[in-house]
Symmetry: D3
Subunit: 111 residues, 6 copies
C-alpha cells in the first residue's frame, strides 16, 4: 500500500513538472474536478470510478478508488456488491483483479 502510494505520487510529481505537459496537467485537474461533490455525492462518484476501473481492469486505478471508498466509509457489504456488478458486467476476466482488490481492501480495513 505504501509502495503503491509512494510510486504513484513520485511519478505524478514528475508528470506535473515535466516540460510541455499542458494536456496531461489539465487531465489531472479534470480528474480532481470530476470527483467533487455535485448533484451526486462524492461517495457515489468514487463507487462509479471504482466500478469503471474494475471493468476496464486497471489495478492502479482500482487501488486508488478503493482507498477513497474506504476513507468515505463504504462498508465491506457495499464493496462486495460493487465487486458483483463489475464481475457480472465485465466477466470472469475481472476475477484476478477482484482477488487483488479484496487483498488491498482488507489491508485498508486492518490498517
Amino acid at each position: 500500500m505504501n509502495a503503491f502510494n509512494e510510486y504513484r505520487e513520485m511519478m505524478n510529481d514528475r508528470l506535473l513538472s515535466a516540460e510541455n505537459n499542458k494536456i496531461i496537467k489539465r487531465i489531472f485537474n479534470l480528474d480532481t474536478n470530476t470527483y467533487l461533490e455535485g448533484a451526486l455525492d462524492v461517495r457515489t462518484k468514487e463507487m462509479l470510478g471504482l466500478v469503471a476501473s474494475m471493468v476496464l481492469r486497471c489495478d492502479d486505478c482500482i487501488k486508488y478508488h478503493l482507498q477513497k471508498c474506504h476513507e468515505l466509509g463504504v462498508s465491506t457489504e457495499e464493496m462486495m456488491e460493487i465487486f458483483g456488478v463489475a464481475n457480472l458486467v465485465g466477466g470472469t476476466i475481472v476475477i484476478p483483479h477482484t482477488r487483488r482488490a479484496l487483498e488491498f481492501w482488507e489491508e485498508l480495513k486492518s490498517a
Copy 2:
C-alpha cells in the same frame, strides 16, 4: 426506443427458449439478482451498471440502464455527472456513445 425494446425482448425470449442454454439462462438470472436491493440501493446499482456499460462502450447496455435510471428517478443533473465520470475514465472514445445516450435520455424524459 420501442424498436430497441421489442428486439431486445424478442431475442431474449429466443435465447431463454433455445436448446442447451443452461449457462446463458443462469447468466440472465444472475443479471437480475445483481441489481436487486441490497447493501446498495437499486438506484446506485443501476448507476454503477450504466457507468460500466459506458466505459465498455456497449450502446444496448447503456440504453437498458438509462431506462432503469429514468424509472428510478435519476435526474438529468445526476446523469450528466455519470456521463462525466464515464468520459473522464474511458476517454474521448466514449463521446459518440454519450451523444447517443443523451439522445435516448431526452427521449425518455419527453415520453
Copy 3:
C-alpha cells in the same frame, strides 16, 4: 445475411486492390492461413475464432465465423456452449452481441 456478405466482399476487394496495401494484403493472407487444417482441425479453429470475436465484441467477425461454423456442421447445442463461454468470460456486455448472433445463426439454419 446477403447484404453483410456483399458489403464485406466488395470492401475486401477494394482493400486488396488499393495502392500501397502490402501490409493489409499480408494480414488477409495470414488470416486465411491461420484457419487452415493443422494440429487442430478447421472446425475447432473456427470455434476459437468465434469465441475470440465474441469476447472482443466484433459483430462482423462473429457473423463470419458463424457462417464458417455452420458450414462445418457445428450444432446448435455446441453453439450454445460457445455462447456460454463467451458470456461468462466476457461478461454481460457480450449479451447484445449474443442476441444478434443467435438471430444470424437461426437465419443460417433455416436458409
Copy 4:
C-alpha cells in the same frame, strides 16, 4: 458523410447546452486543445488520433479523424500505412472498421 456530420454536430450542441455539463464541456475543450499545433504538427497529431481510434474500434472517431487527415493532405499511400499499423497492433478485429474507413476515405477523396 453528411448524415454523420449533422448528427454529430446536433448532439454535440445538445451536450454543450445541457444543464450541469461542466466536465463534458471541459473534455470537449481539451479535445480541441490536444490536436493544436505544438511540438508535433497538426497532421501528425491527427494521424495519432486516427490510429488510436482504429485500435479502440470507434467508427465515429475514425470518421472524424479521417476527415481531418483528408483536410490536412494525408495521401492514400500514407493512409494505407496507418491502416497497416492499426490492423497489425489491434488484430483482425480491426478489419471491419478498416472496410468502413476505406469506404469513407474514398467518399472523401471523390467529394
Copy 5:
C-alpha cells in the same frame, strides 16, 4: 507456478468466505459449470477459455487455462495454433502475453 496457484487459491478462499458475497459465489459456481463436459468436450472448452483469455489479455486467466489444457493433454503443436489464432485476432499487443504463456507452458511440460 506454485506462487501463482497459492495466491490464487488463498484469495479465492477469502472471496468465497467474505460476507455478502452471493453474486461472486454464483459467478464462481457458474465458472465451474461452464467448463464441464457437454455438447463440447472439456478439452475444447478449455481451449475456448484460453483463446478468450489471450485476446482479452488476462495473464492469470491464461495461466489457469494453460494448466487445464496441459492436464487434458493438449500438445505443444496444438498450443502453438491457439497462440496463432489469439495473436492474429487480437493483434501484436497479445505478443507479450504469448511470451509469458510460452514460458509457463514450458514450465508445465518440464514439471
Copy 6:
C-alpha cells in the same frame, strides 16, 4: 530496462524456435515490415505504434516503442504530446501506464 530487453529477446527466441510456429513467425515478420520506411517515415510509424500501445494499455509494447522513438530522436516535448493524445483518447485509465512510460523514458534519456 536491461531486464526487460533480455526477457523479451529470450522469449522471442523461444517463440521463433518453437515447433509448429508458422503463424507466430509470420506475425513477427509482419511486425518488422510494418514499421519500415514507406510513405510514412519510420519515426512517424513508431509514434503511431506507441500511441496505439498506450490506448490499448500494453506496458511491454509501450517500452518497446519508447526505445525506438528514443533511438529515432523523438524529443521529450514531442513525447509529452503523444502522452497527451493517448490520455485524452484512452482516458484516465491510461495514466498509470503514462507514469511507467515517463519513468522508462527518463531512464532512456539518462542512459
